[in-house]
Symmetry: C2
Subunit: 129 residues, 2 copies
Amino acid sequence: MAKRKQAPGERISEAEHAVMEALWTENPLSAADVCDRVCAANDWSIPTVKTLLGRLVSKGAVGTEPEGRRFLYHPLIERSDYVGGESRRLVNRLFGGRAAPLFAHLAENEALTDADLEEIEALLKEMRK
Amino acid sequence: MAKRKQAPGERISEAEHAVMEALWTENPLSAADVCDRVCAANDWSIPTVKTLLGRLVSKGAVGTEPEGRRFLYHPLIERSDYVGGESRRLVNRLFGGRAAPLFAHLAENEALTDADLEEIEALLKEMRK
DNA sequence: ATTTTCTGTTTACAAGCGTAGTCTTGACAA
DNA sequence: TTGTCAAGACTACGCTTGTAAACAGAAAAT
């Protein structure tokens, strides 16, 4: 039984994702801690963060452990799984599952910096071995 | 004044996107025509397609021209604009705007076929000139 | 021991989305 | 000419999302 990459129907919304990022960067965090890192940037108030955390918990994306009177939250899914899933979704939906057209697109629209190009080239070289 | 890439706040939802794909593949099409190409795959009924078309029209993403008693629909935004926008959104949200990490991710997860690799390599070579 | 202060839970609510039924009108066939 | 049918317009409705307030319980402070 391979480990579950992401709960089946439970998608993570964009706002929830912002919270996940905070937890991926550093965890465990209390609700207030999370707010400290995301509220300003997103113009949210604490209740909003609490709601998002609650939803993430019920979706099984974050777990809690009691610490004194409060809860500490920590991610239950890997960032790489989430990111991978979202990337693949996009590639599937927009490019029929092929990654090359996506790359071509980014290239055409100058969405690739020189650094990107070099990095990708290096990666390619590496994979080729 | 560059031509407007996509209406400001008017995002195209996933279901709407399926309709757009049909119209990008072939246009103009009547609502029934669209249904012919997308209803089966998505398990939709004609009313659903009509609703989606209506929403797309009000969002300014598709235009209509009367043909006899019916309307023919055709896209008003370019597929490449949409695709580019969505791609960039993802890259921004998940990879801080850098495309290389996305590429690395796809590579790691074997989401890249050999054909993809070759194609990308070719593109790279081309861009380098 | 009582009040204050956190923190989590519950409830709220408008907008967007997926999905679809009903209404209306005009063309076409009989 | 009138009934039928097809097409668009309008309406509906439950679910998710973004955003947040109200409530409850417990710990801390006084």
